[in-house]
């Protein structure tokens, strides 16, 4: 303490404050996160090793080791849900990121009405997910839907498609609705990234003899890399954990064919009251999300820090 106090320009009161003030001010945030996130998380991890079934209560809720996990791996529905979740996530991520890149590039160009176009293209962000699900369900309606009308107008189909009843078409319909809703945020983030790339870089690349494709690859995409990496990670996690769109549009049907892992957890817990099994299923979702994050960090963050 003596040596620290003798540092010139250091005020005693400031030194005293440094001891406790930072810890005191971070306390509220930590307290909230611990009670509502960390403590329940530990509880649910423990629950996943116990026999908890509110429908047929088992006295004492005994520890059953990995039995919940073993049952999960045995059920075909688990593998079906995993497959649905992966397809759904990948499709939405590709559609939003590629679509967002195209739209952001268009909005970065100068043209008449650009301000209006920007304002309009961000609108889906303001539509609540529940409403998005309802409106798109109505648009995909078998008998009276406007999507079927448009497809028949374009002669792409010759009779109405029954989207929600066909297991192969229900998921694509939900994917379209989700991508529509997610596009604006991707566009905003990528547009901000594009605008942070200095025009001088393009000039320099031009002088060095880079053609348009090379300029796109080495200036635009390279400049977007940090933003694009963050966007990919967030989009992947969000869609992997997404509940509302599938629940609202198909409810996991027909015959549980579009039931994602998260929708599965919801039904297992709040319809069949198999809390232990649902906890195990939820834990698997968490583990997959952690794995996704680690892979992204390796691919996008580690190389950026090296260079």
């Amino acid at each position: 303490m003596q040596t620290v106090e003798s540092v010139p320009g250091d005020r005693r009161s400031g030194l005293f404050r440094i001891q406790w003030f930072p810890y005191l001010t971070i306390l509220p945030v930590l307290a909230v996160l611990t009670t509502i996130l960390i403590y329940p998380l530990i509880q649910v991890l423990v629950m996943s090793f116990r026999a908890v079934d509110l429908g047929r209560p088992i006295p004492g809720e005994p520890f059953i080791g990995l039995a919940n996990y073993a049952e999960m791996l045995r059920r075909p529905q688990f593998w079906q849900s995993l497959w649905v979740t992966v397809i759904y996530t990948l499709s939405v991520v590709v559609l939003t990121c590629v679509g967002g890149l195209v739209v952001a590039q268009l909005l970065n160009a100068r043209f008449h009405g650009r301000a209006l176009a920007r304002a309009l293209l961000i609108l889906p962000w303001a539509l609540p997910p529940v409403v998005t699900g309802l409106v798109w369900s109505w648009m995909f309606d078998f008998q009276f839907g406007v999507v079927n009308y448009a497809l028949r107008l374009l002669h792409l189909v010759d009779k109405n498609v029954n989207w929600m009843v066909n297991p192969d078409l229900a998921l694509p319909a939900v994917i379209v609705a989700t991508a529509w809703k997610h596009l604006p945020l991707a566009t905003i983030i990528l547009l901000a990234g594009l605008q942070s790339i200095s025009g001088e870089l393009y000039e320099a690349a031009h002088i060095d003899g880079a053609n348009a494709l090379q300029r796109y690859r080495y200036v635009t995409l390279a400049g977007l890399r940090p933003v694009l990496g963050l966007l990919l990670l967030l989009e992947t996690l969000w869609n992997f954990k997404s509940f509302t769109y599938i629940y609202m549009m198909t409810g996991g049907g027909p015959a549980r064919s579009t039931e994602s892992l998260v929708v599965s957890v919801y039904y297992e817990a709040f319809q069949f009251y198999k809390f232990g099994y649902a906890a195990a299923l939820g834990t698997i979702i968490l583990l997959i999300c952690v794995a996704i994050t680690l892979v992204y960090l390796r691919v996008f963050i580690a190389p950026a820090e090296k260079s």
């Binding site: 404050r17 930072p22 001010t25 971070i26 509220p28 945030v29 930590l30 996160l33 509502i36 996130l37 329940p40 998380l41 649910v44 739209v103 268009l106 043209f111 176009a117 304002a119 309009l120 293209l121 609108l123 962000w125 303001a126 539509l127 609540p128 529940v130 409403v131 998005t132 409106v135 109505w138 648009m139 009276f144 009308y149 529509w180 596009l183 905003i188 983030i189 901000a192 990234g193 940090p226 933003v227 963050l230 967030l234 996690l237 954990k241 509940f243 509302t244 629940y247 609202m248 998260v262 957890v265 919801y266 817990a269 709040f270 939820g282 834990t283 968490l286 999300c289 952690v290 994050t293």
Partner: protein
């Protein structure tokens, strides 16, 4: 800078090439430009059309009588516009109650998340202390947690605390879920405001809290607005906790109300779309008023990471 060079080059070419060829090249360039312009407008227009159409369709559906809706091909413009549905949803359904509940929950969530988020974000932006890295990692790692995983234990905890089937329970849950993002966004924004501004206020006799209140908070208005908007919309939109943690009509929020709208044998499409439009309106208005701040507030956080 580039203009004079381009002029010199053009003048140089002028003397080398015959006039006719030069004219042809100019016309070619003009045609090319015209084509790429038209293509740009075409793509932008179709993108705007795709984005706006569901909004338009929601509204058109909500003002049509049922017999005009259940036909194929559909009427793309309303034939007998009526606002019956808008009356019906308030008379026959507790939409006003749902909206009020959502409004209370979202406002309380916003207030709490913004207060806690400012303190936490300021802490992470300005102080250096042992264990700060761990706090940051904790906040970031919460983004990986699936909400559905936490519903089960939160259900049990709320049951014990008497928070089940109450609006306060929803406020507690939503504040927690929006908090990590709020802290992070405000942290990024505070870091962009020079600490020297606060230090000079301290020298002028301001307290630390006074400096935060008078200098830093007013300067970070865009981030404050964006953060509030984020928390409000998160609470307004959320569905899975709303349906799992509440059950009574008196505490039903609008997302849960809309999700449980189709209970009868016939689907009241016009009413459903009218209720959808009404429930979208507050968010849409808020969004239009705050759009200016939203872009600068959000993107500052996004780009700096």
């Amino acid at each position: 800078m580039t203009m004079p060079t381009a002029n010199v080059m053009r003048m140089g070419r002028q003397s080398d090439q015959p006039l006719a060829r030069q004219e042809a090249m100019r016309r070619n360039a003009a045609i090319q430009k015209w084509i790429s312009r038209s293509l740009l407008y075409l793509i932008v227009l179709s993108a705007c059309g795709l984005v706006v159409f569901p909004f338009y369709w929601m509204f058109v559906t909500s003002i049509q009588p049922l017999e005009a809706l259940f036909r194929f091909p559909p009427f793309l413009t309303p034939v007998h516009p009526t606002f019956e549905s808008y009356v019906a949803i308030f008379k026959e359904r507790p939409l006003a109650r749902w909206m009020w509940n959502s409004f209370v929950v979202s406002s309380a969530t916003t207030l709490l998340a913004l207060t806690l988020g400012s303190v936490g974000g300021y802490n992470l932006a300005r102080f250096r202390y042992q264990g700060k890295r761990a706090v940051e990692m904790l906040i970031l790692s919460t983004q990986m947690m699936p909400g559905v995983l936490l519903i089960i234990p939160i259900y049990v905890v709320f049951l014990k605390l008497g928070l089940l089937d109450t609006l306060s329970g929803l406020v507690v849950a939503y504040t927690t879920f929006s908090l990590p993002f709020c802290v992070w966004m405000l942290r990024s924004y505070f870091m962009g405001i020079p600490a020297e501004l606060e230090e000079s206020a301290l020298v002028d006799g301001c307290t630390r809290l006074g400096a935060l209140w008078r200098i830093t908070l007013p300067l970070s208005l865009p981030a404050m607005v964006a953060t509030s908007m984020f928390a409000f919309v998160l609470a307004w939109d959320e569905l899975i906790f709303a349906v799992a943690l509440t059950n009574s009509q008196s505490v039903r929020v609008v997302s849960a109300g809309l999700a449980g709208f189709n209970t009868g044998y016939t689907i009241p499409t016009a009413d459903l779309m009218a209720a959808s439009a009404v429930s979208t309106l507050p968010v849409l208005l808020l969004f239009l008023f705050t759009q200016r701040y939203l872009l600068s507030g959000l993107t500052a956080g996004a780009v700096k990471g």
